[in-house]
Symmetry: D2
Subunit: 425 residues, 4 copies
């Protein structure tokens, strides 16, 4: 008689590994529309080549999981550590960030073989492990989330590349927008009371180190806009001379406006005539009711000041987000922020554009970086940047939660970032 | 019978005006050791010429007080608005910041006449005003505090100038230090409890707009070092490879260390041998027990991490400072931070070096800039900078209070800045 | 009875067109070892992507020949004029030079179709033209020579790309060098007499506009080295402190040495140990007897001064080259300069490395740019550059003649350039 | 009976020493209108402070004459070698060029004492030497000419300083111009025949090393304009779109025009309205008939091309100048180039503005730098610059001769440079 089946009850096998496979597959799905040429070029110092993203997230699994936990694992190629380490000083020297685009070799094909090699080895590791080992589980979960973050970066960086191409290629064929004539939802305000409130992640489910520790902070009464600022409203700002009046701007912002000759958000074209917007679907007419996107903190802050309001703090945003029903965010292939179509209480909290907050990116009280090389991440960037909350239309699922903290420098604007207004009561 | 004398009871006459005169005189006192040549040159883009400081603070009184409130006031020279406006966009075009040092004309003599012209007019204004006018009082008090701030800047900038001079001139003749052999006070820790506490200025006495509004913030239990980090301790950091190990540093900090080839604090000389320190008293042997000075935020943060501690938040510092007995800080001509000489509970909170905090410079909840051109100040700098607390040995009296917020960019280090350690309990 | 065959006696058909086809084919031959990824990336601002070279030379034929002389010619793609114009201001706006590497679209495949489209049209043009038309012949001949120049640029730029790749890929598999132990030929000197001599091209065969007009110049007695300076001799220069002693250098050169931290020629690796050289065959041991390559004018001039000699003028070089027997230079796939193997009077005049001269690149007396857009070339670069004479191991055949003038800025060194010594008698 | 007077027949005493005294005095004369503040500031990296010029020329006499030839000479201040060495690598480390303006100490007064100390020592040297010593005489003559060159630099640099000052100060009070309405002389051409001609200095009287050796060069027939290009003609160039049409420009020139946003010569103000010119006499109306000044080589070359002519070579200029009667050029205090007032054959060859030639600055055939530290001068600058001939209205007497070679980079334009047209016959 056959032995009774032993149920595969480990979290790794039943839960993490399927997610791992799905995540790894999704990366390949994302690059299907691209040629090898598209995947090798680096558009700016900030942005990385597609191929580099594909290899780097694979290197992460190889370096932090396989090399440590899979007995007899063979490093795919010893030179890859130099090529695809991002900034882990503890992992040794690496290709300078601004020169990632010079790596025409290893080829895309070889990077695909690398992915396969590592995927197979991850499968072997799952088979070999008798049950859950917390450290392995933790690292695989980090690796999944890490790869998902790079899926968003990959699309951001790709748009930067295609926007610098005179042909203005489309990553995906555009479908006629159904909503370009829709008016934005009426601007309404939700009000919130004062209190000493707990913020940060509660430990249920995955979170990054920078969402910890959960801690108390005092919030004063405030109100928050039900929806994001729209392209149409941004045009009013432009027409009112917003980019020409120093009074709206932080001093550093005004210097940037002048030095970079900013006159509109990144990817807007056709100043003074019919506005066009460069998107992952190619060059499209600008939709008035869609949320403004690809603005810097300097611009968001100036707009808020000009409008008589302000940006929310990250805690105000988190407090407001917390009250929402579980949000069914799926990774629909919306490659540009959609205009508003429904009428909930608080709209567009996730899945449209990241929302600048007035909070500087800083460690929470009691924060300590995780041990080991992994700990280099997050903590070492906690200065001179601003927190964004929410999630954008190109953010993978599972990255939309009230406590999630994204961060960029105040002058950066190639990420999918917009704003939601707030005010004191 | 003679009318009874009406007592001069206005605050302006009895209190503000004498302070005004004293402040104006002190500026002249400060520049006595300088030649006209010393006063015209601009050492770096960040620092300004002495003459420019003397004229700019005078322009402030002329523009915001005399031109508005003294009937018939004659502008001393119409070209000075262009020459000596700092960054008030509302006051029109101005000499670019990096070109202030090209103003060999107007001469120092003419700037001195300008000061006299404005001082006399301020005297007439005081005579003319029947009693206190809140707006005038407010502006004069701002002007006094503004000039005092520039007195500190003037000395910082002068040290930058003299440090770049191969002769290493002394601003003031050095007196032999009595304390160079003294050991620093034993490092002890003061502990503080958790609580929801009010921060910011309470409205009694002068404060800058950025110290308002008073508001509640939640503080967790922490401890604070009784004294500042010393030069001797900094040498340990250097000897332990502090400037060569990326793990201690924020990513931006590490980039700066490499780009600028930092190997020690600014103004230290003689790497690897007998350390010397360039000070306002000239080039002096480095005192081991004196607080380290002229370090950037990046360096202070790296040191704290290396030492196993952290920098305090600005609220922790303020809470600790609040419990102190009224501090008798006088403007003694100590031109370099002195080593510790006594044994109080918390030492060197003021009068030694500004102390970096881990708090980004941001508006307090509910902050609104003051109306008018004056409002351009402070608010427009609230991004990408870090708060420093305390006061330095070159800070004028009256700027030492628990709620005072100084701020600089994390890479800047020509200001008199050091650090005090903190830790969670 | 059949009509008597009309002999195809036009120069175009009998001579130019076969050369055109051969040249176009050779470009395709050159890129065979490359992947599409290799062909899209731009290594530096100076260097261009392979794909760009392939398309630009094709655009040249389309724009200056087909669009003007082939009735009914259909422009392949209207966007290509923007993409692949190099610097012809008269042809309109274009992709900025430093952003040529962002053109992941049009793809390599599409550029190959472009080449085919243009090649076919050129064939039709040849068929259609009844006989020789001087203007067409001239433009086709220019186009051939232009494409040949880009064949050399393509290889130079490719080496720059591969040298920046941590894998140090080989463009072609290296064959073991047969000559690495060979001593360089003994240095001997050829002497030349003074005279008023004609220089410049004599009009027989093709020449660039900058080789005209033929004109007289006076030359004083001089002597010229029979061979090029070798790697072994360059090591003596390095070991003698050549890169550390300002006295050998022009002032601009010394500034460059310090700013760029030059310590050896470009592509040398392993300072202080076993020297390696990055070549189109990959990283190879440095051959002592091979001519030094990839040195700047600053370095060549400093070496000559250090050695007690000088660089020749471009006229001295031309005079010496003129006396040589017709040189059998074939386009052998020598991808790095070979060491000397034979024993002629003057060795290595062509086919090894370009040779810096002390002559600034300037128009010859009476020079006038050719009419039309073509005339933008050559004339507009006649300032701040130095003339190089000879031809390198990657120079196509037909570009080796006494009057040929190559030119680069004195700090550039990614071209295959070395030096030959001269001296006054 | 008294000994018969021994006549003072040495060249040093009878000729050089009086010239030395006159030159040294003239430097002091030149700075009389300046304050100490004017004298310490450095306007740009290229230009130096007045005080630095005064000290550097003195350091030259101290270092190369007194320290070597006056027994027992006491160095005035050992720190001055670091402060006032310009670029003599052999004389040791020095204040970086861009930081000369930070030298508020030593003061102007101390530099004046330095001058006096050195002048007295030079007097003692003259008394002590029994007769002429060729080496001493040579060095003193070089020192005189060197100081004279710095007198011109001093005025150029001063204008750069005052032009950056919003007050636009006048170095000297302007006298009403008598000639502003005068038409420029009719443009006429002098023709010259072909020939193999000797160029360079003939050894009679002083010359710089770069004027040697005298050598033959072949000149083709050419013609030269009798006068300089005027401001009025330059306005035609501007109005014809000269600064907006790439076709007129060298490629490097066009890049500079765009990067620097050039629209007119340096020091012209009031674009599109009444042109004003900043001069050493302050801001003045632009005189149409005066020669254009403060234009770069790029501009001069573009103008010449636009006008259908070209710039002369340095040999053409020298040949034309050689035929002129001895020119009575005196150092009249004309601080801006005057319009033409008389009617000679060739006008304005000296004493108005330096004239750009199309000749790159290169060594003459057989040139060898003089031995010793002095030899660092001239030779080390022979790359990437263009030769100017003639002399300007601020050039001291004795620097106006046919063989004199001045040189600047093609983008520089703070020197007093204009142009004279030439053409082939």
């Amino acid at each position: 008689m056959a032995a009774p089946a032993i149920p595969n009850t480990s979290i790794l096998r039943s839960c993490l590994y399927p997610r791992l496979i799905a995540t790894r597959d999704r990366s390949l799905e994302l690059v299907k529309p691209l040629t090898a040429e598209d995947m090798v070029v680096q558009p700016t110092d900030d942005a990385s080549p597609t191929k580099w993203h594909l290899a780097h997230v694979t290197w992460f699994f190889e370096t932090f999981v396989l090399a440590k936990f899979l007995p007899g694992y063979r490093i795919f190629d010893e030179t890859f550590n130099f090529c695809f380490n991002s900034y882990y000083e503890s992992q040794g020297a690496r290709q300078p960030r601004g020169m990632r685009g010079l790596l025409t070799r290893p080829s895309v094909d070889r990077v695909m073989s690398y992915r396969q090699h590592v995927d197979e080895a991850l499968g072997r590791l799952v088979d070999l492990l008798p049950g859950d080992q917390p450290e392995v589980n933790r690292l695989i979960e980090i690796g999944i989330n890490h790869e998902e973050q790079h899926q968003e970066l990959l699309l951001m960086d790709l748009l930067a590349l295609f926007a610098a191409n005179p042909l203005r290629p489309a990553y995906m064929p555009g479908k006629p927008s159904l909503i370009s004539d829709a008016a934005a939802a009426l601007l309404r305000w939700s009000e919130y009371k004062s209190g000493l409130i707990e913020f940060g992640h509660d430990g249920r489910g995955y979170a990054w180190d920078n969402e910890y520790p959960r801690h108390q902070a005092f919030v004063r009464p405030f109100k928050l806009a039900n929806r994001l600022v729209t392209n149409g409203e941004w045009i009013s700002f432009i027409q009112d001379g917003g980019y020409r009046d120093a009074n709206h701007w932080l001093a550093d912002g005004w210097n940037t406006v002048q030095r970079e000759a900013w006159r509109c958000p990144l990817y807007w074209e056709g100043y003074g005539a019919d506005w066009k917007l460069m998107t992952l679907e190619g060059l499209r007419p600008l939709e008035m009711a869609a949320p403004v996107c690809n603005v810097s903190y300097f611009e968001a802050e100036a707009f808020a000041r000009w409008s008589g309001h302000r940006l929310p703090t990250e805690f105000e945003w988190e407090l407001a987000a917390r009250g929402l029903p579980p949000h069914a965010v799926t990774f629909t292939p919306e490659l540009k922020p959609a205009a508003l179509q429904d009428n909930e209480q608080l709209l567009q909290m996730y899945g449209s554009v990241w929302q600048w907050t007035q909070s500087a990116y800083a460690p929470y009280p009691g924060y300590t970086p995780p041990p080991g090389a992994i700990g280099e991440y997050n903590g070492k960037f906690m200065v001179s940047q601003q927190v964004l909350r929410g999630a954008s239309c190109i953010t993978p699922p599972g990255h939309s939660r009230p406590s999630y903290r994204n961060f960029f420098y105040p002058q950066q604007r190639w990420q999918f970032a917009g704003l939601r207004l707030a005010a004191d009561i």
